[in-house]
């Protein structure tokens, strides 16, 4: 039972991350590869707060989000001046730099990370069981989903898609392309950081490996497999891609190669979907990846 609760929590966390990145990739056409870094900033801020200051959940969410916003400002300001490949490479650069900070700073505990993180408290009630954490993760995913739905259906959502399709036209209408991109970047960062808060409190121990370049590529894979520009697709992809490797546990695959096989599977899915099905499982905008 504990096992299924854990898997469910992971799916909810990845659904949140995937939706938040899909707003950039699918709706706005910004292929950012720094999402894991911002997720990590949320996770580390939460862990440091819980260890040294407070384990209050709402304070954790608030400060993790603020830190996420600040870091994404640093990432976005220079990167958003660049296009396509160069945007991707600039965000990859920031991903590497932030990962290096997690790995090498004294305060983040280096390669071994931070552990012994206390349970969070919500209005004075301490959340102890993993089932309660699961409910919390699902709640965050639902809030993220509903807000993303609202944004993408609002006039602002049409602006995002317009930026994706033709920036020059949007600029010609007197809208600031930079401001539109910037706003969605910040929104995306808030949820990535909040997912980090949930992750830290669920695992009670974090290390840098969970927030590296591989992780960013994995979240991009989830967006593409689910379908760029499809929120339902993002949720579906998170569920399928987390569950699929778990099936290895039930068939006879040696423990030594199971983690490798999992990565190979993710790599194959990324190649398959970029090659044969660029709209993803249930995406509708075939043209995002053109």
């Amino acid at each position: 039972m504990e096992y299924f609760v854990y898997i469910g929590t992971l799916i909810a966390i990845y659904a949140t991350l995937t939706i938040s990145l899909n707003l950039l990739v699918g709706y706005t056409g910004l292929i950012s590869i720094a999402q894991a870094a911002i997720y990590g900033v949320g996770a580390y801020v939460t862990a440091l707060l819980a260890l040294h200051v407070t384990n209050d959940l709402l304070v954790s969410f608030a400060l993790a989000s603020i830190a996420g916003i600040l870091v994404s400002l640093i990432v976005a300001l220079p990167s958003l001046r660049l296009k396509n490949e160069y945007f991707l490479i600039a965000t990859m650069g920031f991903q590497a730099i932030i990962f290096s900070l997690f790995m090498n700073l004294d305060i983040t505990g280096g390669a071994s990370g931070l552990y012994g993180i206390p349970h969070p408290a919500l209005f004075g009630y301490t959340i102890r069981t993993s089932f309660e954490m699961f409910l919390l993760a699902v709640t965050l995913a639902i809030i993220c989903y509903l807000l993303a739905l609202r944004i993408t259906r609002a006039p602002f959502g049409r602006l995002l898609r317009a930026v994706r399709e033709d920036q020059t036209a949007v600029a010609a209408l007197g809208k600031s392309v930079f401001r539109i991109k910037f706003s969605i970047f910040i929104f995306s960062a808030v949820f990535a950081a909040a997912a980090g808060t949930i992750y830290t409190y669920s695992l009670t121990a974090i290390d840098p490996v969970a927030f590296g370049l591989d992780e960013s590529v994995f979240i991009i894979t989830l967006v593409i497999v689910g379908g760029t520009g499809s929120l339902n697709g993002s949720v579906l992809a998170a569920a399928v891609l987390i569950l699929l490797p778990e099936a290895f546990k039930f068939i006879a695959i040696p423990d030594a190669i199971a983690p490798q096989l999992r990565q190979v599977l993710y790599g194959l899915l990324l190649v398959f979907f970029t090659r044969y099905r660029r709209q993803g499982l249930i995406g509708e905008y075939r043209d995002v990846l053109k």
């Binding site: 292929i31 990859m92 650069g93 290096s100 090498n104 991009i220 790599g267 990324l270 190649v271 053109k290």
Partner: protein, 295 residues
């Protein structure tokens, strides 16, 4: 003073290593406009192929290099034929191929770990490299080979792409593949040849670098392809000679920085340089004055 000189020598070696990887990477980029990240996977896999020939089967050093070169060239060619060419033919931009390439990098890296295990293996047991002393500075024959090979290749490829008809034609094809076909260039074949040559070069580099370091492991292609990307961009995109120059500059900066900055910050420093170059000199240090970025 001699400490600084040793750092400079280390910088030249590291710079030549990056230049070697960046050369093949840039050659492929010039011909196909794809950021072929899977190049890092080809690097890793070919080193292990060389290891099998050299250490496991004890076929000798020439066979080791041949195995690495052939395996690398084959994988590069297969990736182009099965993935990039169909994507190009389907009107998909090289940008999407770049994302796909990440997938291929992940696949090759972990298949390597499944075949040869996830622990490092010894490619050159002690005593195979000779150490030379120049005063207080030391270097090895593998290092001298790396420096020489990188320099010769960089100059040869620079002359090829600047002054020879075929080289100039390949650059033109990179800019506009359709136009190249209209004027009668066998674009597909030229791209295939570029993948064979670029990948074959990474096979040689993998063996040279593996022999110099002594050990190889399945993850080594990840970091090196990131450094090659940094090298190619700080040197100047679409220009093979400039990429080699970028690699050289990167290696020098990293190693001279060790004087003041701990080595654990090398990766962060390299990417900080990358971002500064992207923002302030997007055409690169040695590239043409044609901005590759916009908005």
């Amino acid at each position: 003073m001699s400490v600084l000189a040793q750092f400079a020598v280390n910088g030249i070696v590291a710079g030549s290593v990056y230049a070697l990887i960046a050369l093949g990477f840039a050659l492929i980029f010039t011909a196909s406009r794809v950021f072929h990240f899977a190049h890092g996977g080809v690097y890793t896999f070919s080193a292990f192929a060389g290891y099998t020939a050299l250490v496991t089967l004890k076929l000798g050093i020439v066979a080791g290099f041949l195995a690495a070169i052939i395996v690398a060239a084959l994988i590069g060619l297969i990736i182009n034929i099965l993935l990039y060419e169909p994507m190009k033919a389907g009107g998909v931009s090289p940008f999407v191929a770049m994302i796909s390439s990440f997938g291929v990098l992940i696949i090759i890296t972990h298949v390597t770990a499944m075949i040869w295990g996830s622990n490092p293996v010894v490619l050159s047991p002690g005593g195979q490299t000779t150490v030379y002393h120049f005063g207080s500075i030391y270097t090895t024959d593998a290092q001298l080979l790396i420096i020489g090979f990188a320099a010769v290749l960089a100059i040869a490829l620079w002359i090829f792409f600047r002054h020879m008809r075929l080289g100039i034609a390949i650059r033109a094809m990179g800019n506009d593949s359709e136009l190249a076909e209209v004027v009668g260039m066998p674009a597909r074949r030229l791209r295939n040849i570029s993948f064979i040559v670029g990948s074959g070069l990474v096979g040689i580099s993998a063996m040279l670098i593996g022999l110099n370091v002594g050990i190889i492991d399945f993850n080594m292609g990840m970091d090196i392809i990131l450094m090659a990307t940094v090298a190619m961009i700080i040197g100047g995109l679409g220009n093979v000679g400039a990429a080699a120059g970028g690699g050289f500059v990167l290696g020098m900066i990293q190693n001279i920085a060790i004087w003041k900055i701990e080595s654990k910050w090398q990766m962060a420093l390299s990417f900080a340089i990358l971002i500064v170059v992207l923002l302030f000199k997007p055409s690169g240090l040695f590239g043409e004055k044609r901005p590759a970025t916009g908005l």
